[in-house]
Structure formats: structure tokens, C-alpha cells
Symmetry: C2
Subunit: 349 residues, 2 copies
């Protein structure tokens, strides 16, 4: 059987803010049977993860592209690989059989041919809705967990600040930190998100950064006792303000720098190194992929599943439907359209 | 017996580059006998340590002044406490007796009255010249050692960059790193210092930063395989360039930011956070005082004494004489006058 396999690609490399017009929907014929002599697996994609870091792969040039395997530059016209969940429709690999549900490196398309060597994990008898394995139980949750507990080694009672607090990772950082007995403040981009963070997710405080002309004094107001841990998703001025308001031995998990991704020129965090030195601040960049398969992953999965099972974590999802919706889902990340984890559902189960 | 105790003080708080005219020599009568009922110790100072960080204490306002005990703001007209070595001339404390040689918190003056609670350590039967206990075997050496081995966890074969490489700490960072089997490059401020680093201290390379219009490309030239560890004494553009040239999992020991100390306005390292994140760079501020009395101190002392004993470390000292020479000794630090550890000898043994 052959299908027309729809996929989303970039027309050209992107500089600056992405918009729907940077993308196009294409299709290519695909046979749904395995090519002889290969260990390929054909997956019908169900949920695809939509993440800001992909913008760095779409650029003509980015520091990210040389450093990390999974961050390789994307090629205009070609498929865009991305984390997702799907169902096996054909398999040349003994470890996978038809109708297995799988999680791993798929692509922004309807069907993905997964070659031997690509990381793909079976989801056996899923206890939770499938989409959760891309959110709290997937890379978003693990990113939050590793940053908070391994990079920052957060302790009960500490004061935690998180930016893009209603994003896929940020909302979970705040929820984990609350579960660890911390005082938690989040920054976000609208009044309704501020309300949601405080009322639904239990943040102690939240503020709309767009209404704060001086981030430094905003943080001083929300952290009269200083910041112990800053989970940074934005970089630039927010990072500067957080460092200025940090307590001695403060820690920064440098997870994302979304305010720097969309700039064509140079935009950077102008850090006062005297603060960094005298307050013995530790700023540490990290990637969740370094933790894949390590002991922290088991700990994360078991702790988080337990939280979700007992309703201690609210799952925030923002789901669009159809492969056609990927361009606006992605561009919307940079407009603050999404609340929680942004997913595109490209097929029913 | 009473003496006129000469001391150096600041006339007013200093902003910007310090010069000799910011200081004045004063004196006050001092009785060389212990006040009844106290546990004071009177020390005749021999060597005093002259260190750049003191400038931050002389400022009207500095982030350092609120963070750390030993960095409290100095008061114009008053004594300037500083690390030094001296001889006990009178003691009301059973732990110290006349003629003991001591090391610890003294001041930029001829005699210092040390009150109970001030850290003071006896130097019993010194194996090395006394001044070494302020250099390789003192805070300079320990700062280098802690930054390299604890903060950066440097490993054999790694590529190490150190700025102000002919300064009190920098020269020892380079020498320790060479002893650990690293490739070592230092930046400094003159041709003669470049030659000294390479010929006398065994640095693999060294360069004069004043002759490099583009630090980024200079570092690319000296580190074709990238930087694993950067020991930062200067901050600002040098730190930016080092981060840009860093390898994945690179580490920065943020020890000093001398290029930022002398600025009146804001001067900062504009870090590209995308580099920090994707290369998982760790930037960590630290103060050697946090290590005092810990297990690392014993390790440092025993390893370094052994290096010095066997001539594996060259001791670079730059000694001026007389309390009057303190202002030019201090101002000279910021002009790059010193080679190695700057000391003022205020008395003979």
C-alpha cells in the first residue's frame, strides 16, 4: 500500500521571528511496506512535539548547530525531525511489531520511516493518556526535573524563579518546585496566564513581564529574600535581573534563551561578573539529552508518574490538529500563543 | 613602649582606576603592651599582601560589599585590613607568645592589634622563605588550586586558558595546570611577560592581549582544539571570547573581573547564552575564603609544598619596601606593573 505522506518543511533558513509563511506543506509518496534487507520501522505519527529550540536548527547559522547531534541544521525542503509518539504500521526490526505504540525521534509528517540506530522506545500498556509521554512524562518533564534537581540541586524552602512559566517546561519546573516545598514565582506574558499559574498551578506569585518596565525591581519586589534558584528559559535581560537578585550560592539552570533565538543580531545577557564571583553564583548550561538512559531518568519517571497518578501535577496541554497546523503551532510559540505543552495531533489512535 | 604606627588609608572612596593620590600615609600612637583584660595580640607586620579585590572595598558602592564578610566597605581615614605575615611582639592570648611568626588578617600598617576572633595562624619552623606563605603556599596558591581542581575539576590533557597569567594567581594556575599535564595558554599585558610565561614558567603559549584587536580570533588561533577550562581573572570581553571558543562541557572558574573593577559605569560580559546552553558550559563564581579550614586546604598545602620543595613551581614575587610604598604597589596592580605576587615588606624579620 502506498500513501501520499504529508510533511512540513522550511522554505528557506529563518532569521528572526518565525511566521507561518516560512513553512510549506509538501507530500511524497511512501510505500507502507518495509524495504527488503533493512531493519526500518514505519510509524504512523499521532502526536508531534512543537518546541522552540527547533528554531535554532532552522537558522542559517547558530552556535547550537555545531555542538550537538540532535541540533543539526535543517535543510529547506526536507523533513524536520522531532520527538513524537506513533503507532508501528510495518516493521523490519524484531524488537518492534505492528501496532506497537512508540515514542522517540519521528518528524513533522504523517508517517515516518525510522532507521536502525534512531532512538525509539516502546510504550507498553500506557497507564496515562499518550500525550503525557511528550509532556510531564517526556522530555519536557525530564528537562524540568534534571534542571531543578540535578543542575540546581534545589532544596526544600528555597526561593525559585522560573521564566516562561506557563510554557511546556516552565509550568512543570514550578509544579515540581512547589512539591519540593519551595517558594515559587513565575514570569509569563499575559494576565490570564498569571492567573492560571497562581490559581490552577499553585505558584506563590506570578507576573506579566510585558508590564514590568524594570525587571530588576520586579524581581526585588517578588523576592524580598532573594532568589536561590533561577530556571532560565529566556536569557538576556531576565537573566541579568535574576543574577542581580540572587542570593549567595545561587544557581542558574540555563535551559533556554528564547529571547535570544529570534534575534538576527547579537543579543546577550550582560552579566555583572562581580555579582557572579562575590555571590558564588553557578550558571550551568545543560541539555536533557545528556541524561537519556541515565539513572536520573528512572527516578524522574517513577516520581513524576506518581505525582500525575495522584493528581499532584496538573497536565497543561495545548493541542492543535492536523499536520497543516504545525506552522502556526510553531510560530505561535514565539508569540506566546501556547499554554503548557504544545502538541500537534496528526492522527487518531 | 609606645610607637608611632604608620598606616595607609584612602582619602575618600575610589571610583574608576586607583592612583597614588587616592591614598595617604597616616600614623597613630600605639602602646606595644596588651590592654588588661583583653586577649589581643600585637603583631609587627613583615609582609603585606597587595591584591586587586581590595579596590572593590574602596568603592562607594559595589556588589561585593554586601555579599561577603571579608569584603566589607573600607572607611576613609581608617586602617585597611589585609592578609599579611608578621611577628608577635606582645600577646594577651595563651595560644600565641612573643616572637611567634603568624599569618592572617593584619592591615596595611606597621603594627596591627589583632583581636580575639580574627583568623591568625602560627607558622611553626617555616620550611620556606616567609613570603611564600602569602604566595604559592598562601591565598594566591590556594585560589589557583581550588579554582583549577575543585571548581573546574581539570583533567590531564585538557586545554586550559588563564587570563592575567603573570599575576599572583594566574601564574600559579598555569604552573599547576602544566604539572597536571594540560596544554596551557596565558594572556598578559606585555611582551616581556609573554616571554617569561613561555620561557620561565613553561606555558605552551602566551599572548599580549593589548596587541590582539580581536580576542575571539586570538583564542581561536591559540586553541585550534577549543578551550576546556578557562580560569577567568578579568571578565568582560575576555570571558565572552573564551565562552565563544569553549568546547562542550567547558568550565569557567570566575575568580576575578579586574577589567570590570575599574569601571565607573556598567561593564559586563555579554554572554551568548546559546553557547552556554548548547555547549553545556558551567560558569562558577567562587571565593577562596569558602575553602578555609576545609579538607582541600590540607591537600593543597601538602601538594604545593612538595612542588616548591622540588623546584617544580617557580615562585614569582614582586616585593616593594616600606609602608610608604603601598599606594604605588596597589595602583600598579591596575597598570600591570607587577610580575607575580605583589608584596610590600614593611619590616625586616
Amino acid at each position: 500500500m502506498e500513501v501520499e505522506n504529508k510533511y512540513v518543511t522550511i522554505k528557506d533558513h529563518i532569521d528572526g521571528h518565525p511566521s507561518e509563511s516560512n513553512f510549506e506543506l509538501r507530500s511524497a509518496p511512501l510505500s507502507l511496506s518495509i524495504e527488503e534487507g533493512t531493519a526500518d520501522i514505519i510509524v504512523k505519527n499521532i502526536y508531534l512535539s512543537i518546541d522552540p529550540y527547533q528554531l535554532n536548527r532552522m537558522k542559517r547559522c547558530s552556535p547550537s548547530q555545531n555542538s550537538v547531534k540532535g541540533a543539526a541544521q535543517l535543510v529547506p525542503g526536507k523533513e524536520i525531525d522531532a520527538i513524537g509518539i506513533g503507532r508501528v504500521v510495518a516493521s523490519g526490526n524484531d524488537e518492534f511489531k505492528k501496532d506497537d505504540m512508540v515514542y522517540g525521534q519521528l518528524a513533522w509528517q504523517e508517517y515516518t520511516v525510522v532507521h536502525l540506530g534512531t532512538v525509539l522506545t516502546k510504550i507498553d500498556k500506557p497507564e496515562f493518556p499518550l500525550s503525557y509521554y511528550l509532556g510531564p512524562l517526556g522530555t519536557s518533564g525530564f528537562t524540568a526535573y534534571a534542571g531543578l534537581y540535578d543542575i540546581c540541586k534545589v532544596k526544600n524552602g528555597e526561593k525559585v524563579f522560573v521564566s516562561t512559566a506557563s510554557g511546556s517546561v516552565g509550568n512543570l519546573v514550578g509544579q515540581f518546585a512547589k512539591l519540593s516545598g519551595c517558594y515559587v514565582v513565575g514570569s509569563t506574558g499575559s494576565k490570564s496566564k498569571v492567573d492560571m499559574l497562581k490559581e490552577k498551578l499553585g505558584f506563590d506569585e506570578a507576573f506579566n513581564y510585558k508590564e514590568e518596565p524594570d525587571l530588576n525591581s520586579a524581581l526585588r519586589r517578588y523576592f524580598p529574600e532573594g532568589i536561590d534558584v533561577y530556571f532560565d528559559n529566556v536569557g538576556a535581560e531576565m537573566l541579568e535581573a535574576a543574577v542581580a537578585n540572587m542570593n549567595p550560592f545561587g544557581r542558574v539552570a540555563a535551559c533556554g534563551a528564547i529571547s535570544e533565538y529570534t534575534e538576527k543580531g547579537r543579543r546577550a545577557a550582560a552579566l555583572n561578573m562581580m555579582d557572579v564571583i562575590y555571590k558564588r553564583i553557578n550558571i550551568r548550561g545543560y541539555l536533557v539529552s545528556d541524561y537519556f538512559g541515565g539513572h536520573l531518568q528512572d527516578e524522574f519517571l517513577s516520581a513524576t508518574a506518581d505525582h500525575v497518578r495522584h493528581g499532584r501535577i496538573h497536565v497543561l496541554e495545548d493541542v492543535s490538529r492536523g499536520v497543516e497546523s504545525i506552522p502556526s503551532a510553531f510560530a505561535g510559540l514565539f508569540r506566546g500563543d501556547n499554554v503548557g505543552k504544545k502538541l500537534v495531533q496528526v492522527a487518531e489512535f
